[in-house]
């Protein structure tokens, strides 16, 4: 017996979302909550009028009903199809017979539209299937990835954001020496050398920012303590929500690559060294300087404690002693070396054994390197010797480099030797010229004297006098040629002295023209000067020489013409003297050469004699006056020589 009335029960069921109806023993629907009314499409007013049985599609459902009605056994989740108007619903119903407080029995039925349920069940099943499939795929992928990771030659390691190792592949085990078991759960600093620990913080920070690190070259630590060169690529591990939860690291052993790089670097630096050395020695033509530069540079480059470069060229004209240069910081050794050399017991030609001897005597040399310097003819002409207090300081690379340097040095030294020979020969030649011309002056003096004697004794009509005078002219020419040779030699040795005085250039030029005109009847020498007199400071005699030279050239090189123009003017605060001829002219090419020593124009007929040193000397004289001697000319249009001298 129930405490409640059906009324009360129904009030409660009104609150329920599940369709609930109550029927009497005939199947008449006595009550239905709003969900039920909606489901069955019954108006509240119709309650009590409608029967539930027709709603059931199959009679067998009705029987189920009936059974429960009669037996009073509750039905639980029985499946049935109900038909509402045209629509069919698949439902599960439960029924329960309730006798209320008043003794009235009603059967309450609870319906559940299981289409939705089924749908969701299907969905659920589908989802489950999908998940299963995804799971399988995921597992397959994992397996593939795992296979890749495990067969990779590169170490693949993952860690969380705290730096704890969360995965460790086979290659990592080989590379770092720790097994998976040993590595998992440990901090990544396990493989980081102590001096590089700060790298980890940098890496983690970048990872936290979602940044990748690519090809970061660094060193890592093996279990056995050895450090290896690695290249790291690190990427963040992101979970399904997009959160960074760790880092995945690939480490590649780059020791071999590093080795190659280092070899290349050494090779390049060797080439650069030889290049620099080459420049260094080519700048010098002095043997001592070359020796010193080479030994200074090479001692430094190979890091030797000391270096000695000894040199004695074989087939040189001069008898040369052995020369040598020393570089280094081993002061005590240097002292003993110099002492031994002073004692004369030291043979510079046999440096190697001598130094080894010194080494035994406590000069403290543990490393030693000796390279011969070989001339082009194959003779040993020198030695490069290096030493160091420590053992094993020199290796094959050093040797190779030094052989290259020795070859360079030899070339430079051979050049320097040749140069010195030439210089010495040149000096000797100049000395000879100076001496010879000095000696020549004496007989010329006598010759001139005798001829003048004869001439002065003759009377003015005497035909012989003319001839004697011609002879005298020639001695004068001889004298001036000798004087020119002497001047050349003096210029070369830098000893052409100037004695300055103040004199009138116009007057000097006029005198020279007068003298020259007297001897040269073929040309008219026309003179023009802006000023009647023009005082300048200079060596009158030397400048006279210049004017004579230019006038003689003008006449000599214009045999077809009959005029030479000379002018003196002031320009830009300088005294300018111009000598113009109307002869064959000088090509631009030749203009570059005419002021050099012993230059003779190539296309001149051999009629024109002379050493050709006149312009060379003239230029030197003008230069010494801080002036300029220049030429302006075109082929066939004569030439204008211009002397410009500052006051």
């Amino acid at each position: 017996m129930n405490k409640f009335s059906h009324r009360d029960i129904q009030d409660i069921h009104d609150l329920n979302n599940i369709p609930i109806v109550s029927i009497d023993s005939t199947g008449l629907i006595t009550y239905g909550n709003s969900s039920a009314l909606r489901l069955l499409r019954i108006e509240k007013a119709d309650l009590g009028e409608r029967n539930l049985f027709p709603f059931f599609k199959e009679t067998h459902s009705g029987e189920l009903f009936y059974q429960s009605l009669v037996t009073g056994v509750p039905a639980i989740n029985k499946l049935a199809n109900i038909l509402v108007d045209e629509d069919e619903y698949h439902v599960a119903f439960s029924s329960h017979l309730i006798e209320d407080v008043n003794g009235i029995c009603l059967i309450y039925l609870f319906f559940q539209n299981i289409a939705a349920l089924e749908r969701s069940e299907n969905l659920f099943a589908k989802q489950e299937l999908k998940f299963e499939r995804l799971l399988i795929e995921s597992k397959e992928r994992q397996a593939r990835l795992a296979a890749i990771v495990n067969t990779s030659d590169d170490a693949i390691v993952s860690k969380n954001l705290q730096g704890m190792i969360t995965s460790w592949n086979h290659a990592a085990g080989i590379m770092f020496g720790h097994t998976e078991a040993e590595a998992l759960g440990k901090h990544i600093s396990l493989i980081i050398p102590p001096e590089r620990l700060q790298e980890e913080e940098l890496i983690i920070n970048k990872i936290k920012n979602g940044e990748r690190i690519e090809h970061f070259e660094t060193m890592r630590l093996r279990k056995d303590g050895k450090q290896i060169f690695v290249s790291l690529s690190i990427s963040p591990i992101i979970d399904e929500t997009g959160k960074i939860i760790g880092a995945s690291k690939i480490a590649r052993d780059i020791s071999r690559q590093k080795e190659f790089e280092e070899k290349l670097q050494r090779y390049t630096s060797h080439v650069e060294t030889l290049n620099t050395m080459s420049k260094l020695v080519s700048e010098s033509l002095e043997i001592n300087e070359i020796l010193q530069r080479v030994i200074d540079a090479s001692t430094k480059i190979i890091g030797a404690g000391f270096g000695i470069f000894s040199y004695q060229p074989r087939d040189s004209i001069q008898e040369q002693q052995v020369q040598f240069a020393y570089a280094g910081r081993m002061e005590n050794f240097e002292k003993s070396l110099r002492k031994a050399m002073a004692d004369d017991s030291f043979n510079l030609l046999d440096l190697e054994s001598n130094i080894k001897h010194l080494a035994k005597e406590g000069a403290n040399i543990e490393s030693f390197l000796s390279i011969p310097v070989i001339s082009k003819s194959g003779d040993v002409v020198g030695q490069l010797v290096f030493g160091h207090e420590d053992e094993n300081r020199f290796n094959e690379d050093h040797e190779k480099l030094l052989v290259g340097i020795a070859t360079l040095a030899n070339t430079a030294l051979e050049n320097a030797t040749l140069y010195e020979e030439i210089r010495s020969l040149n000096a000797k030649k100049d000395e000879f010229i100076g001496l010879a011309s000095h000696e020549l002056k004496t007989p010329i003096t006598s010759l001139k004297g005798f001829l003048q004697f004869i001439s002065m004794r003759m009377v003015e009509g005497d035909s012989n006098k003319v001839i004697i005078n011609k002879a005298l002219q020639q001695t004068n020419r001889l004298s001036s040629l000798v004087g020119d040779m002497l001047d050349v030699a003096r210029i070369e040795t830098g000893h052409l002295p100037l004695s300055r005085s103040s004199f009138d250039v116009v007057e000097m030029v006029k005198e020279v023209i007068e003298q020259t005109q007297y001897a040269a009847s073929s040309h008219l020498i026309a003179f023009h000067s802006e000023k009647p007199s023009y005082k300048i400071s200079g060596d009158r005699q030397r400048l006279e020489q210049v004017v004579i030279n230019l006038l003689n050239n003008a006449i000599k090189y214009s045999p077809e013409a009959n005029l030479v123009k000379v002018s003196v003017l002031e320009q830009e605060g300088c005294c300018v003297l111009q000598v113009q001829d109307f002869g064959m002219g000088i090509s631009p090419e030749q203009q570059g050469h005419i002021f050099s020593r012993f230059y003779r124009a190539a296309d001149i007929t051999s009629n024109i004699s002379g050493f050709g040193i006149g312009l060379y000397i003239s230029k030197d004289i003008v230069d010494q006056h801080k002036g300029e001697l220049s030429v302006q000319s075109e082929i066939g249009k004569g030439a204008i020589f211009r002397v410009k001298i500052p006051h």
């Binding site: 004496t442 003096t445 006598s446 004297g449 003048q452 004697f453 002065m456 001695t475 000893h495």
Partner: protein, 122 residues
């Protein structure tokens, strides 16, 4: 009174030539010496008016001789014409105390006018 000119040069040809020219074209008595070692002693004896001397001579050079002369009051007033083929000749000659310098090879007329000029100044 005839003047005396003393020629001192180690080169015999120069001496011969100068003797010839001076004898022909001056009124003076000409004395010559080729060995400079004897020169000073002879100069002291002969006391010439004019000395014509070359710088480059063996053992006793021209400039040395000039200095010796200038140091000896009995002959220091002598007019000295110094000649040379040497580039630095002029400087050496003047420093030694020569009155005039002649660069070899020189003109005879130049020499003769120098001698004439010396005569005038005594």
């Amino acid at each position: 009174m005839r003047r005396k000119i003393f020629i001192c040069d180690d080169d015999k040809n120069i001496v011969e030539m100068l003797e010839m020219v001076l004898q022909e074209f001056t009124e003076a008595t000409i004395i010559s010496e080729t060995d400079s070692r004897n020169a000073f002693a002879r100069l002291a004896i002969e006391t010439p008016d004019i000395l014509l001397v070359d710088i480059s001579m063996p053992i006793v050079s021209g400039d040395q001789l000039i200095r010796q002369i200038r140091d000896d009051p009995s002959i220091s007033a002598m007019f000295v014409i110094c000649m040379s083929a040497n580039l630095m000749g002029e400087q050496i000659a003047i420093n030694a105390g020569a009155d005039v310098y002649l660069a070899k090879p020189f003109d005879m007329s130049q020499l003769l006018s120098l001698i004439a000029g010396a005569a005038q100044t005594g």
